[in-house]
Amino acid sequence: MKWQRSPSKLLLEGPHVEILISTTRPELEEGQAIGLEYRQLQVHALIDTGASLTVINPQIARTCKLLQTDWNRITTVGGMAGSYPAYAAAISFPGSDLPGFDAIRVVACPIIEQPFFSCLIGRDILRKWLLTYNGPTGEIEVNAHQ
């Protein structure tokens, strides 16, 4: 997946992508087979090399009825620290050939002062990607690592 913004827009907004987030694929398949309905949300996600794991706004977990699987301790650069619920989710990337994730951990923690983004894509996802950030041209390229 490759896209381009103006260098100044990339500087201002950072690299971000549209993602679809929902309950995990195994739950979807099992639940839909017995008539259950699930919501899928399309949100803006910032590719954040400073985040060690992927974070969502708590409202997404509630809306999509994500299943909690753990609690994780998080510290932010501003010193905010705490234990936050971790959920299992499916994440995909509409309009791209980037492979999605059928079941991946996301942690629900308010993303403060970032109303544009509802998700931070952290290094747990980046671990599976090759990411090229071209500041002078404004071009971003993401490829799945084989």
């Binding site: 195994p26 609690w71 299992a88 059928d102 942690v107």
Partner: protein, 76 residues
Amino acid sequence: MAEENPLEEELRVFEAHRSEWLLTHTGEFVVIVGPKVVGFHADYESAFKAGLSAAGLGRSFLLRQVWAKEPVYLIY
């Protein structure tokens, strides 16, 4: 209070076994449903499938990597 503190029972089971599991399962994902240890897996996705299969739809379960101390994750 299960709604306010989900996974409380599973976390107690985890802490009771952490030292023992560190000897043989460091870095693996353990799945715990209520008081029952379902198993250990190398990756999150297969652990999740095992947990879902054991717990059934809509029931939370613990899926945690076995480390000596819980990591503190940094978000910048």
